[in-house]
Amino acid sequence: MSIKVHIIKDFPGFSLKVDFESDAKNIALLGPSGSGKSLTLKCIAGIIKPDCGYIELNGRVLFDSENHINLAPQKRKVGYLFQSYALFPNMSVKNNILMGLHSNKDKEEKLKILNHFVKLLNIEEILDNYPHEISGGQAQRVALARILVSDPEILLLDEPFSALDAFLRNKLQMELKGLLKKYNKQTILVSHDRDEAYLLSNEIVLVDAGTTIVQKDTKELFKDPIYLKAAILSGCKNFSKIEVIDEHKIHVVDWGFDLKFKKSISSDIKYIGIRAHYFSKDKLDISEEIEVMDITEETFNNLVRFRFKNQDKTSDLVYWKVDKDIKVDEKTKKIYFNLNDILLLK
């Protein structure tokens, strides 16, 4: 399984320039809303035509502006799960699914395939219902069944959980993870939720403002996002500009202290970041004096905002996510963190 996407498309006030190639089984396009992730999927599916570029799926050219190739969506063998699921309202669940088998003329085989996926997705009981009579979770399963029966070469999942409430979302995310494990085809998930991307992908392509920023193994990306923008998208909250003093030493400009590393620091590092839950009250590599500004109680932890002792007054407060059973208050004057947990960013 392999996909190659190199496309450019200009819209009024927005331009899309996406480049990635991947053999990974489960890819996630992660980026904020309006960054062009869904547009990218629509270009792959042939719903939107890029201005120029090249798209290849498993060695088949789907789009090539130089050689004037632009396969119709009908011929691309691409399964597209829409955000709204796009079930046909005038057809029963069964007929909706049979639409995925429309080109198959063998009635017996049709029913066999239908029954297989209906069982796999556990929707036997709603076959005769209409889309407006079933729940959001069921609608998603029906939409998936409709796609899977058509036997596409790749599955495109366009923010599949955004229309669901938190409880159902988690349940269906786990379901989908199980299904993807069994289903031996490449998938591209579009999401703005880093946890969702982490759960459902083994490779992430980060997209921001219409451009691909970085492509990396999912776990690696969260460990080492390389770029400031990537670190922000991966959910890191605390950043500071730095100056490299020498190979092992940097000055953290916004926070007003120096750090010394054992490893050598590349001269193109411009920022550092540290995730809010990596600070601690217990002794670790580095200790710094702080001034606690405020404490907000969240569902399962407290969010402390503080300033380092010599911090630039115009820079953002630093976030510290701390367990509720650990006592932090205005009298807390010291904080610890590990050098290994510092993200070095370009």
Partner: protein, 220 residues
């Protein structure tokens, strides 16, 4: 009482509805796909009959299909007469009622969730299949509303018909008959035809209401 005007009005309205039904749907579909400027121009042209006085529409019909004009003369020589003929009333009614179908259908096409069509495409369904089996059924209520409005408008058409085909024993419609009878001072007969017209329109509206409430019940 001669019931010819009733028969004539109904056949004219029904044929006009059949014509406008398809023309309205097709133009609504293709105008939407046009580039912006052309779309704007076409939209104005196609809606004009709605805002122009029907007599102006009738005048245009005479301009095109009148016996002294090339197309009209050609059609006449081919045995097809519209001017001063009941078939001309079909043209008049279609022209005047067309914008109602066009605009209603266009509005429901615009409200159509394009994802449905895209989903159909990625599942391998042909564009024709998607149009007839997914897009049109999804826009059903708009189509019905447009059709009923078209029928009602075509049935009540007066100005363009009067200009183009006039009132003769072979072209009389309900609306031209009412005007003719009243002009001749035959108020009582005119009232009969007014009542017939009200009866037909009421039946049509009641049918639409019943249909709509059924739709709503099904949607629940």
């Amino acid at each position: 009482m001669d019931l010819f005007p009733l028969f004539n009005s109904l056949r004219i309205a029904l044929i006009a509805v059949a014509i406008v039904f398809f023309l309205g749907i097709l133009s609504a579909y293709y105008v939407r796909k046009c580039p912006r400027v052309i779309k704007g121009i076409l939209d104005v042209v196609l809606t004009l009959p709605l805002v122009l006085p029907p007599t102006v529409c009738g005048y245009f019909l005479i301009l095109i299909f009148g016996p002294t004009h090339p197309l009209g003369a050609f059609l006449y020589s081919a045995g097809l007469q519209f001017f001063m003929d009941w078939k001309g009333a079909i043209l008049a009614s279609s022209l005047v009622a067309f914008p109602l179908m066009y605009r209603t259908v266009r509005a429901s096409f615009e409200a159509f969730n394009e994802d449905l069509a895209s989903a159909g495409k990625t599942l391998g369904l042909s564009n024709t299949y998607i149009f007839w089996r997914i897009r049109l059924p999804a826009c059903k209520s708009g189509l019905i509303a447009g059709t009923v409005l078209t029928f009602a408008r075509a049935l009540g058409e007066y100005g363009a018909t009067q200009m183009f085909v006039g009132y003769t024993s072979k072209t009389a419609t309900i609306s031209t008959t009412v005007a003719q009878l009243w002009n001749a001072g035959n108020d009582k007969q005119a009232l009969y035809w007014v009542l017939i017209n009200i009866a037909i329109s009421t039946v049509v509206l009641v049918i639409v209401n019943i249909f709509e409430s059924q739709q709503k019940r099904r949607a629940k």
